[in-house]
C-alpha cells in the first residue's frame, strides 16, 4: 500500500472513530442535535425509545415529543457529569461548547438503530415476545423474522459499542485529561450519566402517566 493509500485509510479511520479531531464546538453541536432529534423522530415510528445514555427499548407507545425528549435527556445526562469532570481534573482551558457539542455528535450511531428498528421482521418478532411464555409453541416462530431480529440485535450492539468509543474519544479531545485517570473518570461519568438519565426519564414518564 503506497503512502497516499495509507493516508486515505488513516483519514477514513480518523473520521469514523475520532471525527472530533476535525469537528467540535458549535458545528458538532448543531449536527449532533439534528441527529439526536432525527433519531428520536425515526424511533417514534417504531416505538423505539432511547431511554437512557446507553439504553434502547422497543414497544411502549408514546407521543412523538417524548421520543425527542429522551435523546436530549440522554445527551445532557452524560454531558453534565463530563463537564464537572473536566472543570475539576483538567489543566486545559476547556470550552463547555466542545464537551456538549462532541457528545451530541458522538450519539450518531443511534440513528442506525432507529432505522433498523423499522424493519417489519423485527417489529413482528418484538410483538411476539410478550407471548413467549410456557404455552408458546416453537412453530409460531417465523424463522426469517427471528433472523432479522437477531441481525438487528447484533447491529444494535455494534452501534452501541461504536457510540461508547465515540463518546470516549469526544471526551478525550474536548477535556484533555491525561494519564490513567482519564479512563476511570470517563467510566464514572458514564455510570453517573446512565443513572441520571434513567431517573429523569422514569420520573418524567411517570408524571405523564405513560408508565
Amino acid at each position: 500500500m503506497d503512502n497516499s493509500e495509507t493516508s486515505k485509510g488513516k483519514l477514513i479511520v480518523t473520521w469514523l472513530f475520532n471525527p472530533f479531531h476535525y469537528i467540535a464546538g458549535g458545528k458538532a453541536l448543531v449536527i449532533g442535535l439534528v441527529v439526536i432529534l432525527l433519531t428520536g423522530l425515526i424511533g417514534s415510528f417504531s416505538n423505539t425509545h432511547f431511554d437512557g445514555v446507553l439504553d434502547i427499548h422497543t414497544g411502549l407507545p408514546a407521543p412523538t415529543w417524548v421520543f425527542l425528549m429522551e435523546g436530549l435527556v440522554d445527551w445532557l445526562s452524560l454531558g453534565i457529569p463530563l463537564c464537572v469532570v473536566a472543570l475539576i481534573f483538567t489543566k486545559s482551558k476547556v470550552r463547555l461548547l466542545d464537551v456538549f457539542g462532541t457528545q451530541a455528535l458522538a450519539r450518531f450511531p443511534m440513528i442506525v438503530n432507529a432505522l433498523l428498528s423499522l424493519l417489519p421482521g423485527f417489529q413482528r418478532q418484538i410483538a411476539q415476545l410478550p407471548r413467549m411464555g410456557p404455552q408458546f409453541s416453537p412453530s409460531d416462530i417465523v424463522p426469517m423474522d427471528m433472523a432479522v431480529f437477531a441481525f438487528v440485535l447484533l447491529c444494535s450492539l455494534t452501534m452501541l459499542v461504536w457510540m461508547v468509543a465515540l463518546m470516549y474519544r469526544a471526551y478525550a479531545v474536548s477535556c484533555n485529561i491525561r494519564g490513567g485517570k482519564r479512563v476511570v473518570l470517563f467510566i464514572a461519568a458514564l455510570l453517573v450519566g446512565e443513572v441520571i438519565s434513567k431517573v429523569v426519564l422514569i420520573v418524567a414518564l411517570n408524571h405523564l402517566g405513560l408508565l
Binding site: 467540535a24 464546538g25 466542545d98 484533555n176
Partner: protein, 99 residues
Amino acid sequence: MNKRLLPVSCPSCEQTLKVRRFECSNCDTAVEGNFDLPTLARLTPEEQSFVLNLVKCGGSLKDLAKIYGVSYPTVRNRLDALIERLDGLQSQASDEEGS
C-alpha cells in the same frame, strides 16, 4: 538544495548538543565557546512550525485550527502538550546550568 535540519541531540548518546563555533560566511570571523541551543531551537521542526503559525495568527487558536484543518480542541491540546515540552526543556536547561 535540500533544507538541512538542525540536529539537537547526539546521534550516539542522545544528549543535547551544544554549539561550539559560529562562523561569519562574509569575513571568515569565527567565535568559539560553549553555547547552549535556545529552547525554541530544541523543538522538532513540526513544533517550531506550530509556534511560528501560532504567532502569525496573533495567538488565535481558532485561526490556527483553520490553518491546520482540525478542530479547536485538537489545536488547544497540541498547544498544551507543547507548553509541557517547553517547561521540560527549560527545567532541563536550568539543571545543566546548575551542574
